[in-house]
Every structure is written in structure tokens, then in C-alpha cells.
């Protein structure tokens, strides 16, 4: 799920639950989530997963 999709669903749910004051907090959280997903350690983790898949194929 992209962070845009996540935020849209979360904001709609906050409205449904009658918690409009939650919406700016969720918007701030979405920015932090984007920063987390863009971090370079995710590249390292992905390379590790790809490497494992390659190794499995070779086996």
C-alpha cells in the first residue's frame, strides 16, 4: 500500500469515527512514514531479500 493510499483510507476512517482532530496528526505521520520508506537501510534490506531469492533460484 502506498503512503498516499494509506493516508486517504486513514483520513476517511477518522471522519467515519467522528475524530476530525486526528486528521492533522495522521497527515504528519504520513510524512514520517514516507521518510521511513525512503531510508537507505531499506535498500540494504531489499538487496538482502533479492540476494536470498537469487540464491534460492540457483539451488
Amino acid at each position: 500500500m502506498t503512503s498516499e493510499t494509506w493516508l486517504k483510507a486513514a483520513l476517511a476512517d477518522a471522519d467515519t469515527r467522528g475524530l476530525p482532530a486526528l486528521k492533522p496528526l495522521l497527515e504528519g505521520l504520513a510524512k514520517l512514514t514516507e521518510q521511513l520508506r525512503a531510508a537507505d537501510f531499506n535498500d540494504l534490506a531489499r538487496r538482502g531479500a533479492d540476494g536470498a531469492e537469487e540464491a534460492a533460484k540457483k539451488r
Binding site: M1, L19, L22, L29, L32, Q35, L36, R37, A39, A45
Partner: protein, 445 residues
């Protein structure tokens, strides 16, 4: 009076536990309406405990450095037979059936328990403003926050209502109020002091530790919390050869001008005393707040899930909203944050491989005015909450032990704290370094 001084005078028969306990209770009577530091005062029980401990000592049984010491306890920690309110109406009707493990150790060490102190509701805040019992206030300026979440605890020591206190620290909740109130606050290494019987905020980041008037007192209470009641205070060590590292980028980017000046002056004094001070970098420091949020929010939401469903209206509005945020985060992002946590831990380990401790300010700003949601730092207007957490939460994420020591106050007389961070599972070594640095950091306090 520090614990160390109390111990000397108690054993010289210059004071009794009962007399000092009475003096603390008199201070509580005098200051409670101004500072709102306590949720529960146990005057009769404290006097009874003090008299019993005086009789024990007279009879030849000395339990060690905390024998007869009157202390307060954050009201997040179970004390058998009393409510653990967590400063929340959600806890109405609760009475603890057992002592928390930390309290059991303190009782064995001979501590006199004066009462339970005010906090930010469920420890989920840095200012102590959101409390079912009203805000605790800063003894240096009651219009300001004492910091949080252990704000009542810090105020109780700074205002001499207790010789020391026990707090909890999930993002800085011991060190932030210690810095804001001008006392010492120690967060030990993650996992060292039991959190059994303590209401969790984030089990991944929660710590229990002391707030005291000196590093020596922090050492004594820390050891008692571990069940070591007879620890001898750290021996003096020379500053020559002590290697300190200042993480400049991120950690020193956003500092109030007066905090920066006091911090730099403390560094100059440490250098003059013989310490070797290097600048270093924690490469992924910018990621600390996002890693912290993506782990702590789901942790908190998991603990509160059922009460958010059944009694949401009993939470203070701000704390309820922060808890609700954690219910929206995705598991995949939680896992990413755990990977980030590991990376940050390794980077701090690497920074400490060549140094005895990191040194940095505890709080980038002086204690904020109660009710303020933003603060001005240079030309930037920034949220109070993120600024309060900025320099302490990194070491909840990584688990390293960290201690706040009071430095010179601002020109307005507001406390400033300097933080030292040591190697994981090396809290004793950190305390020895802190003991050596304390007179150079605290000059002018």
C-alpha cells in the same frame, strides 16, 4: 540534603529518618498547592516506616545507603494497596495487588515511601499538562512545565519534598524533567531494571530509573533498583584521558541560544579539566523520530486497544488522539522501523567504540510555558513535543544508558541539562564518567 549526606548524618546520629521524613512532609504541605507534584501523599504510612527503620538501625541492622531515605514514586508504578492512577480517569477504581519489582527492591533497601507523583497521562507526553489531576508545575517557575512525563517526580526532588524519586523513561521521561527541573536523571541500559508492575507505554522502549540530586545518589538508587543494596559510591577518577564525543549534526542543529552557550561552556570546562573532546557524526540520526514513532505508537495502541473501545472519553483528548494514531500504522512500516532501530544502535555503538561517552544537551530548549504548543528556536517555530523529545528519544531507540546532569542555568534562572551517553550494559562505567564530569558540568548551579 542528598542521600549521601543523609546517610552520613544518619549514621553519625545527627538526624533520624523520622525527622527527615517529617521535613519532607512539611515541604509537601507547603508546596503541593503551588506545584501539584503529588497525586497521593502517604504521611502516616511514611512516618510509620521511618520510625521502624530508625528502630532497626538503633538495633544494629543497617540495610545500606538507602536505609531510611524518604522517596517519592511516579504514579505509573504499582505500590501494593494503593491506586496506580497513571494520572488517568481510565484507571478509576484500580488498586495494586502487588509491589512492582522495582518497589520491592526499594523496600528491601529500606526506602521510606512518601507518596505517588503526578505525571503526563499514561506517561504519554513530555510536559505533564495532560493529567486527570491537573498539571504539575516547575519549582523554578510555576508558570512553566516541569517536563514530563515524570514531571511531578522531578518537581518533588527539586522542591526538596523528597530526597530522590523513581521515574520511567520511554522517550526521555526521566531525563527531560530532570533537565527542566535542574536535577540528575538516569535512564539505565534497556532491560537492566525490571519494568514488571509498571504500566507500559512502549515495551520496546520503556525504562525505569532514578531522579536524584547528584550522580552519586543516582548510582546508589540505580543499584538498589537492581537489588544491590550495599553498593559503595563510585570512587573519584581523574578527567585526564576521558574521551568524550559530541554528535554535532542533528543533535546540535536546533538549540536555543542560551542552551547552546551553556553547553559549549560545559565542554570548555571539561576540556580544561583534561577531557579529550571530539566531534563525531551519527549518520542516520535524522531517522530517529520516524523510527521512534513507528515502534512506540503501535506498542502504546496495543496496550490501550480495549480501553480505547470501551472508555475513550475518559482519556484526556490529546493522549487519546496520540494513542489512536498507533492503530493506523501498517505492520510493514513497524518492521522497517525495527530495522532502522538496529542500524541506529550499531551507529551509536560505533561512535562509542573510540570514546567513553557521548556528550550533548538533554533538552534543546528551557522548560516551556504551560499551554505552549510551539517554541521559537532562532528563526524557526517548532512543536514543543518534538523539541522536548529530540535529544533523549535516540537512546530509547538504541537502548544505551544516558544521564542528565544540571549545567549552568539560563539568564532567567531556568535549568539546563547536559546529557552523557555510555555503552550498552555499561551503566556503571557511565556513572563513573558522569561522577568525574559532574563538578565541571554543574559549575554555577
Amino acid at each position: 540534603m542528598t542521600i549521601e549526606e543523609f546517610g552520613r548524618r544518619l549514621r553519625a546520629r545527627d538526624v533520624t529518618s523520622e525527622r527527615v521524613t517529617d521535613e519532607c512532609l512539611r515541604r509537601i504541605d507547603a508546596e503541593q498547592s503551588r506545584l501539584n507534584a503529588f497525586i497521593l501523599v502517604m504521611a502516616d504510612e511514611a512516618r510509620r516506616q521511618a520510625r521502624a527503620l530508625d528502630r532497626e538501625l538503633a538495633g544494629g541492622r543497617d540495610r545500606g545507603p538507602l536505609h531510611g531515605v524518604p522517596m517519592s514514586i511516579k504514579d505509573l508504578i504499582d505500590l501494593r494497596g494503593t491506586p496506580t492512577t497513571a494520572a488517568s480517569r481510565v484507571r478509576d477504581g484500580h488498586v495494586a495487588g502487588h509491589d512492582a519489582a522495582a518497589i520491592a527492591h526499594l523496600r528491601q533497601a529500606g526506602v521510606v515511601i512518601l507518596g505517588k507523583t503526578n505525571l503526563h497521562e499514561f506517561a504519554f507526553g513530555t510536559t505533564n499538562e495532560d493529567s486527570a489531576f491537573g498539571p504539575a508545575r516547575n519549582p523554578h517557575d510555576p508558570a512553566r512545565s516541569p517536563g514530563g512525563s515524570s514531571g511531578g517526580s522531578a518537581a518533588s526532588v527539586a522542591a526538596r519534598m523528597a530526597l530522590a524519586t523513581i521515574g520511567t523513561d520511554t522517550g526521555g521521561s526521566i531525563r527531560i524533567p530532570a533537565a527542566a527541573c535542574g536535577i540528575v536523571g538516569l535512564k539505565p541500559t534497556y532491560g537492566e531494571v525490571s519494568t514488571e508492575g509498571v504500566i507500559p507505554l512502549s515495551r520496546t522502549f520503556d525504562h525505569v530509573g532514578p531522579l536524584t540530586q547528584s550522580v552519586t545518589d543516582a548510582f546508589l538508587v540505580y543499584h538498589a533498583l537492581l537489588g544491590d543494596h550495599i553498593a559503595a559510591p563510585p570512587a573519584p577518577m581523574p578527567m585526564t584521558g576521558v574521551r568524550l564525543a559530541v554528535p554535532r549534526r542533528y543533535f546540535c542543529d536546533l538549540l536555543d541560544d542560551e542552551v547552546r552557550a551553556r553547553f559549549e561552556r560545559a565542554l570548555e570546562r571539561l576540556r580544561s579539566a583534561g577531557a579529550h573532546v571530539d566531534d563525531i557524526e551519527i549518520r542516520h540520526a535524522d531517522l530517529i523520530p520516524t523510527v521512534y514513532m513507528h515502534v512506540s505508537l503501535p506498542d502504546a495502541a496495543a496496550y490501550h486497544a480495549s480501553t480505547l473501545e470501551t472508555m475513550a472519553e475518559k482519556y484526556t483528548p490529546n493522549v487519546r488522539l496520540r494513542l489512536e494514531m498507533g492503530r493506523y500504522l501498517l505492520a510493514e512500516d513497524y518492521v522497517r522501523a525495527l530495522a532502522g532501530r538496529e542500524l541506529l544502535r550499531r551507529e551509536v555503538d560505533a561512535a562509542l567504540a573510540q570514546h567513553d561517552a557521548l556528550v550533548l544537551p538533554t533538552l534543546p530548549i528551557p522548560a516551556p510555558t504551560i499551554g505552549a504548543t510551539t517554541v521559537q528556536v532562532g528563526r524557526e517555530t517548532l512543536p514543543v513535543r518534538s523539541m522536548m523529545l529530540r535529544l533523549t528519544q535516540p537512546f530509547n531507540v538504541t537502548g544505551h544508558p544516558a544521564i542528565s546532569i544540571p549545567a549552568e542555568p539560563t539568564s532567567a534562572g531556568l535549568p539546563v541539562g547536559v546529557q552523557l551517553v555510555g555503552g550498552r550494559m555499561q551503566t556503571d562505567a557511565l556513572l563513573r564518567i558522569a561522577h568525574a564530569c559532574e563538578p565541571h558540568i554543574s559549575t554555577g548551579v
